[in-house]
């Protein structure tokens, strides 16, 4: 237990459940979402952007788009503030803890700005489901259930920095830039300014991630492999990749499997 975590009480969430992920909506939840945006499966950032662009006068489409992004900002506050505590248990530079504390405040500001944009649409946080589920991994991920990575892996700074700061926040750069441009196109200056502002923070977050992954992996090939693996797994799960990149990723995983098999003395190769 970290020194800081000793002083922080576990407080219950004001929402029950704390997160309501879109992927886990029941039939009634999906029907309610469909009544607003035509189809529950339209609750996808790229699809919603197309819908806002095509029908800017439809405020529900705008609310859905900003809600989908805003919920991830709130989850970011949850996730990064946890890291400030958890990473004191790891051998990381204090400057990294400070950088993540700064990033937490950035996410707070992003959440506030998005909430302001939503209020201008007559919408509140919670009217639409969440897109991410914050920093507390589900039991299957913490190792209490089957199929998840080993316990503690989601707290590993190099894994989080590579998967979240570099990959997820890197992807957010495009999302924010495109959303800002969309705001300009549909004459929504609040939307345009909000995501223009956030874009600059995302560059810093990706830089923080890349800088500290380099620092932590300096002269440590195993750590660099862990970072690359985390990035690869994250992209495989979340990014629509082209044919060549999918092939590159598959080869990467095949090589990883070979290395793991060799490390185990060939014991893991028994599927033939």
């Amino acid at each position: 237990m970290s020194k800081l975590a000793d002083h922080i009480k576990e407080t219950p969430s004001r929402r029950d459940p704390p997160y309501r992920p879109a992927l886990l909506l029941d039939g009634a939840g999906r029907a309610e979402l469909a009544s607003k945006i035509g189809d529950a499966d339209n609750y996808d950032l790229l699809q919603l952007r197309e819908m806002v662009q095509t029908a800017p006068e439809n405020m529900e489409f705008r609310k859905a788009l900003v809600s989908a992004i805003a919920s991830a900002e709130y989850a970011g506050v949850d996730a990064f503030s946890r890291k400030v505590c958890e990473w004191q248990d790891w051998d990381v530079p204090w400057s990294l803890i400070m950088a993540i504390a700064r990033q937490t405040w950035d996410e707070v500001r992003h959440a506030q700005l998005a909430t302001g944009v939503l209020e201008s649409y007559g919408c509140e946080i919670g009217e639409y489901p969440d897109t991410l589920a914050g920093g507390a991994p589900p039991p299957s991920v913490t190792g209490n259930g089957a199929g998840g990575p080993p316990p503690g892996i989601m707290s590993d700074p190099i894994v989080t920095l590579s998967a979240i700061n570099v990959s997820l926040e890197g992807g957010a750069l495009r999302l924010f830039e495109e959303t800002s441009k969309l705001g300009e196109r549909i004459d929504d200056p609040l939307l345009a300014r909000c995501y223009d502002y956030n874009w600059a923070d995302e560059v810093t977050h990706a830089m923080i991630g890349d800088y500290f992954v380099r620092e932590l992996a300096l002269e440590n090939p195993e750590a660099e492999s862990r970072a690359l693996r985390a990035h690869a797994m994250f992209e495989y799960a979340r990014v629509r990749l082209g044919e060549q990149q999918t092939h590159e990723l598959k080869e990467f995983f095949a090589e990883e499997m070979q290395r793991a098999t060799a490390a185990l003395g060939g014991q893991a190769g028994g599927y033939n």
Binding site: N42, M51, E60, R174, P189, D210, E248
Partner: protein
């Protein structure tokens, strides 16, 4: 694209933050990352058609021209063909999104059944200071 013989690009690894934007945007998928053996984004010049898309999306301006590389005309044609296929796929995805959008508008109406007017005035319509655009 600059003329018949394009100038390929390369990534300055010291300045690159590995955000992957260039790799995801490249129409020939010429940028390698997971096969480089390190956390480095590297452009394979054989597949680069010099379209500059990677340089335009880079948030830290770390992608520059590499005039020292002379592209092979035959390979360049193959790379361009890959770019055309990429564009076709992107177009297909866009069409699919448009169809879904049309269906959504048809289901809820152009204004939307739940919509309310904005409750607070929007910010003034001054030009955006979108320095990265």
């Amino acid at each position: 694209m600059r003329g018949v013989q394009p100038t390929v690009l390369h990534i300055d690894l010291q300045r690159c933050i590995n955000c992957s934007l260039c790799r995801r945007a490249c129409p020939t998928e010429a940028i390698n990352y997971f096969s480089t053996g390190h956390r480095t984004h590297v452009i394979d010049p054989a597949w680069c058609i010099g379209c500059d898309i990677c340089a335009k999306v880079c948030p830290v301006d770390c992608i520059d021209e590499d005039p020292s590389y002379v592209p092979d005309p035959a390979q360049l044609e193959i790379a361009k063909e890959r770019a055309r296929a990429f564009a076709k796929r992107q177009h297909g995805i866009k069409l699919m999104r448009r169809q879904r959008t049309a269906a959504a508008i048809s289901a809820v109406g152009p204004v939307g059944a739940h919509s309310r007017a904005p409750s607070t005035p929007q910010a003034s319509a001054e030009p955006s200071t979108n320095a990265h655009a």
